[in-house]
C-alpha cells in the first residue's frame, strides 16, 4: 500500500474506534442512574449516610403537610411512588409548593431518618393548562378511579 494511503487508513481506523467507544461509553453511562438528586427510596433504604448534604426529589404526599403552631416550621412527606421520607423545613415555601407537587429539597438526613431541609424548591412540570381544564382532568381522573374501584369491588364479590 502507498504509505500516504496507509497513514490515512490508520487515521480513519483510529477515528472510528474512538467515536465508537465514545458512543458506547455514553450509552452505558446514560443507562446508569447519574441523577444529581436522591430518590425517597434511596433515602429510605439507607443508601445515603446521615449528615451528608444531598438533594432529595419527590412528590409531596397528599394530606401530609403539617405546619408548626408557632414559627415557620413545616413537616411533610415526599414520595417517589415506592417509599416515603419525612421532611422538616423551617422557612418560607415557594408559591408552587403544594400537596401532590414535585419538589427538590437540599438538606441532610438525620439519624432518625428525618430529612432536614435547608432549602425547598418547587419543581413544575412541562404541562401548561388553564385551571378549568385541570379541574376537569382531575374530575375525570377521580371518576375513572371510582369506576375502577367499583369494578374491582364487583370483581372481588
Amino acid at each position: 500500500m502507498h504509505p500516504q494511503r496507509k497513514k490515512r487508513l490508520h487515521l480513519i481506523l483510529f477515528l472510528v474506534l474512538a467515536v465508537a467507544s465514545a458512543v458506547g461509553l455514553a450509552m452505558y453511562s446514560l443507562s446508569q442512574n447519574i441523577n444529581l438528586f436522591q430518590t425517597p427510596t434511596q433515602i429510605a433504604n439507607g443508601e445515603v449516610p446521615p449528615g451528608r448534604t444531598i438533594r432529595a426529589g419527590g412528590l409531596v404526599v397528599e394530606g401530609s403537610v403539617e405546619r408548626d403552631q408557632q414559627g415557620l416550621g413545616v413537616t411533610f412527606r415526599v414520595t417517589d411512588g415506592q417509599s416515603e421520607v419525612p421532611v422538616f423545613y423551617d422557612g418560607i415555601l415557594p408559591d408552587l409548593f403544594r400537596e401532590g407537587q414535585g419538589i427538590v429539597a437540599l438538606g441532610e438526613v438525620n439519624t432518625e431518618g428525618l430529612f432536614v431541609a435547608s432549602e425547598v424548591l418547587a419543581k413544575h412540570d412541562e404541562n401548561y393548562m388553564p385551571p378549568e381544564v385541570q379541574a376537569a382532568l382531575e374530575q375525570a381522573h377521580q371518576d375513572g378511579k371510582a369506576q375502577m374501584e367499583a369494578a374491582a369491588k364487583e370483581a372481588s364479590y
Binding site: 415557594p94 408559591d95 407537587q101 424548591l121 418547587a122 413544575h124
Partner: protein, 248 residues
C-alpha cells in the same frame, strides 16, 4: 435541483447580490416580525388563560422559550457559517458568522434573565446550579469567547478562522443543553414542545407561543441581514457599486 442550489450558493456568495436582494426584504421582514410579535404578545398576555399551577407568571414563557431556542439555533448557524468559511473560503459566510455572535449572545442573555425572573416565583429561587441553567450560561460564555477571540486577532482572515474553529469545538455544548433536563432531572422542567409528540400545553396557550417563536426567528433574520449589510458596505467600500450608493 442541484443546479439551483449551486446557483443559490454563488449568489449568496456575492455581496452585491445579497445587498441588493435584501433591500427589498427588509421592509417585509420587519413587518412580519413586528406584526407577528404584536399578535403573539396580545394573544399571550391578554387572551391566554392563566396556568393551573403558576397563575399568570407563566406568561414569561412567551419570551423565555423563543429566546432560549433562538440562542441555541443561532449558535449552530454561527458554527455552520464558520464551517462554510473554513471549507469554501466564502467571505459572506464569515461575515454572517461574525454578526450572529452578538445577536445570539443577546438572546442567550434574555433567556437567562427571564429564566431567573421566572424561577423566583415558581421554584422559589433566582438561580440554581441546575445543569440546564449552567450549560446555558456556558453558551453565553462561548459567545463571548468567540467575540473576544475575533477581536484579539490581528488579521481579519485569522479572526474569522479562529472564531469558526472555536464555534465548532463549542458545538459539544448544544446536545448537553438539550439533554440536560433529561440527564439530570433537577429543577428545570422537561421540554414542552417536542417534534415527535403532541405538545403538553393547552392550545390557547400554545398558539401564542408558536407565533412568538416564528416572530423571534423572523426578527433574528432581520437583524442578521441588517448587520451583514453593514459588513458588506464596509468591506466593499472601494467598489464601484458601493460608491454609487454613497454618492446618491
Amino acid at each position: 435541483m442541484w443546479q439551483w442550489l449551486v446557483r443559490l450558493y454563488h449568489r449568496l456568495g456575492s455581496p452585491k447580490w445579497f445587498y441588493e436582494m435584501t433591500e427589498r426584504w427588509i421592509f417585509w421582514l420587519a413587518l412580519a416580525a413586528g406584526g407577528s410579535a404584536i399578535v403573539g404578545l396580545v394573544l399571550g398576555l391578554l387572551y391566554a388563560p392563566a396556568d393551573y399551577q403558576q397563575g399568570d407568571s407563566f406568561r414569561i414563557i412567551y419570551i423565555h422559550v423563543p429566546a432560549a431556542l433562538l440562542a441555541q439555533s443561532a449558535y449552530m448557524m454561527m458554527a455552520v457559517a464558520g464551517a462554510v468559511y473554513l471549507i469554501w473560503r466564502m467571505k459572506m459566510a464569515a461575515w454572517v458568522a461574525k454578526v450572529i455572535a452578538p445577536v445570539g449572545a443577546a438572546f442567550c442573555l434574555i433567556a437567562l434573565l427571564t429564566g431567573a425572573i421566572w424561577g423566583k416565583p415558581t421554584w422559589g429561587t433566582w438561580w440554581v446550579w441546575d445543569a440546564r441553567l449552567t450549560s446555558m450560561l456556558m453558551l453565553l460564555f462561548l459567545y463571548f469567547g468567540v467575540m473576544a477571540l475575533q477581536q484579539a486577532m490581528e488579521s481579519e482572515e485569522a479572526s474569522y478562522k479562529a472564531g469558526a474553529i472555536l464555534a465548532l469545538v463549542g458545538l459539544v455544548n448544544i446536545p448537553i443543553i438539550k439533554y440536560s433536563v433529561e440527564w439530570w432531572n433537577t429543577l428545570h422542567q422537561p421540554a414542552t414542545l417536542k417534534l415527535t409528540e403532541k405538545p403538553s400545553m393547552h392550545p390557547d396557550m400554545l398558539w401564542p407561543l408558536l407565533i412568538m417563536i416564528v416572530s423571534t426567528y423572523l426578527f433574528f433574520a432581520l437583524v442578521v441581514i441588517l448587520r451583514t449589510r453593514n459588513e458588506i458596505l464596509w468591506h466593499e467600500r472601494k467598489r464601484q457599486w458601493v460608491r454609487k450608493i454613497l454618492e446618491s
